[in-house]
Amino acid sequence: MAMNNVGRPTAPGSTPDASAHTSLTGGRGLLQDEPLLFELGGWDKTGVDFDAPAHDASDLGDLVRTAPIGIPGLSEPETLRHYVRLSQKNHAIDLALYPLGSCTMKHNPRLNEKMARVAGFADLHPLQPISTTQGALELMDRLAHWLKTLTGMPAVALTPKAGAHGELCGLLCIKAAHEAAGQGHRRRVLVPTSAHGTNPATAAFVGYSVEEIAQTADGRVDLADLEAKLGPDVAAIMVTNPNTCGLFERDVIEIARVAHAGGAYFYCDGANFNAIVGRVRPGDLGVDAMHINLHKTFSTPHGGGGPGAGPVVLSEALAPFAPAPWLVHGAGGLELVEEARDEAAQTFGRMCAFQGQMGMFVRAYAYMRSHGSDGLRQVAEDAVLNANYIKAVLSAEMTPAFPEGPCMHEALFDDHWLEGTGVTTLDFAKAMIDEGFHPMTMYFPLVVHGAMLIEPTETESKRELDRFCDALLALARAAKAGDVERFTGAPYLAPLGRLDETLAARKPKLTWRPEHASTLAAE
């Protein structure tokens, strides 16, 4: 055995079985339990130093808050420890392939983060004089140009703050257009059964009734059913393309044609634009409105649940109804129009304060410029290639929901292959955690039994794809071999085991309260 210069061995000797080992303090090596901020005891502590104010608040009399607020503070080193320890309990794209179908968990380039933090963008107030923000408006204008060119659409509303917010914006444009044309009686929206939940939710939100369009055996919109349900009271169809089964709607041009013939608009859910960017323009398919999740196709970070951004591209027919503010080229440069100034604009209103998710615009534009027209086309191709590769490899043990023909950017499996094993889709997904991967999207779309929707994205190497496929194939074989406990008790190796969601919903504890600590101790 090698020895270092003080005589200690440099390689481990024989050790007992490590898997049964527990620590004396409850942690697991570097992975420590971390109390809540409120249990760390900093009720009279702060990690920020301020000068003393020159004036008091005597002018405010009894408007001043005298009762305790109840917010503890920490010094800077304690703050770093607390949040770094918490961060280590999260899975992340930077750790491994994150196969959430429909969510497009791709690499988030750090150049984007750097540029969004440049003072010329980050330290700009939304209401400072327009003449002092020409560069920001120019960036928005360039982003708009790229979005319009890539989608083949003539207009874009930049302000929606997320995908669902974009859907709402698109449907409000459609509603306003119908009302302006004396078609306000159109109150029905047709949505395929495989749609994202946000589609029917948004339609219902603007006061429309929702009717489902049937799906064909090969996972597409049933054109005959659509035609049968169209009528003089239909305001719009909402179709995702590529759809949530990961398939391109082959009849999409015909779908648009019959919708238009029936006087309805075609809203396209652009959540899956990543599959076709640079190769197909939604404008060529007859789309009237489509939101683009900048946090999916254009790589802005998901951030543990937002912020996103959901600009909406619009056809000529819908463009006049776009929300305020919008950009115009004026005599003195770019301007923001806050209220309709002429007859041509029939804006339906406003989606949010100010002008949208500028921080996300900078990131998305940096990403587009980095890829360019050639790189973005390669994005779609590699995303589709990776998904088809996974579909081909995993088909050795798992059953694809639509085995015939290629898929687009995501591969959909059903749970047929788990029949009789005693393992469910959920169990299988939780066992993936023990192998170091985030579960795929489960039980969605609703049209496939026990659905497992896998979207690798284009930013995975073949090596990582193989590592992922090897893990899933090994798990699949274990399930079929009767190693049921590996699944039903999973995860074993995560920071926590399965959580009791029923308990959480039955008696919601949504905030920490001082009495909380004692009840926990009593339990």
Partner: protein, 444 residues
Amino acid sequence: MRYLPLTPDDRAQMLGVIGAPDIDALFADVPVAARKKDLFDLPKRAGELEVERELGQLAAMNRPAGAGPFFCGAGAYRHHVPASVDHLIQRSEFLTSYTPYQPEIAQGTLQVLFEFQTQVAALTGMDVANASMYDGSTATAEAVMMSQRVTRREKAILSGGLHPHYAAVTQTIAHAEGMEIVRQKAAIDAEADVIAAIDSSVACVVVQTPNVFGVVTDVTRIAEAAHAAGALLIVVTTEAVSFGLLKSPGEMGADIAVAEGQSIGNALNYGGPYVGLFACREKLVRQMPGRLCGETVDAQGRRGYVLTLSTREQHIRREKATSNICTNSGLCALAFTIHLSLLGEVGLRQMAALNHSRARELVAALSGVCEVLTPRFFNEIAVRVANASAVVEALLQDGIVAGVPYSRLAPEAGLDDVLLLAVTETTTSEDIAALSAALKGRLG
């Protein structure tokens, strides 16, 4: 291309495994008419250096708020954010993770959300808070729609002190959902005017404090009037630092408190992304919009957190969902929570006191220069100057960004002589002296 790991060999090998002759075969379902053979008319790929150069040039065309004396507020405020906040939110595990639907491997995000909810409830003086909204304006619209679900009434009264963008967003969204929105005429100190409009058909009244003109209002009487008529009181705050000095919405009888949380932890970002705060009384929690994080236990009885009550949400509930929000503003909420953890009650109170003190200094400096219209203020005031837009343009020549003309927010309101001026702990005495001198010079 630096973001694409596949090599030409990989691609060829993978096509072989798939059994496809070429990449076009995988796009066979696309109608021939829609297949683009050529590259789009856009620039080709660019290296990091080149992209950085182009964006740097665009950024250089802007004047950052920190470049000189700066007095813009009106819903977005320039505060100092400690360096560790931005460092922490760029941790890969926070930045590059998804919504925490798999709680076993998302306890970091979930515990932060639980801390965030607790902080927001404490700040606003309410019982419960959600895991954030897009921003203050959309939170306001959602609060109005929530009042409809709670009261089963259709009418909302918006006070004349509500930020015009907030009012417009509420009008757009709540109206789409079928509500009647009554916007009172813009008025500097008239929050109590909403009392006269309250009757038994009203679902809610929406009052902002400090309002868009900077006026601080004790809304207790409004709360009493609303409750007597069976309506809810929604209190809006656009400057979250004010919670460190002013009586909270909860103490004054609010049923729902919404706020823009940008001031804590988040940069100005030219208007977004920001973080909406949403808090309410416990009994209303099941009508609340947005994501909620709740405490529970895992299979071994260990404490943990999950997203809960999701049967209200659209990805589950589809057309029966209670709100339009799906994504929240996770990373901005994280920044908020970290900054507030650094501040603590002690630091927040000091920060708020310093902001208020600066505003007192501003008011004193403007004495004899122009009329101050705001009788009770936190860190923002309205002043009267003829043609406020022209004054702002003129002072720009002096290197000063002299606030927000009210007409920028509401061009048709007829308040062209109202200028909104905000100060924070980042404003220096020299900045205030420069503004005062320049205004004096320009106004003659």
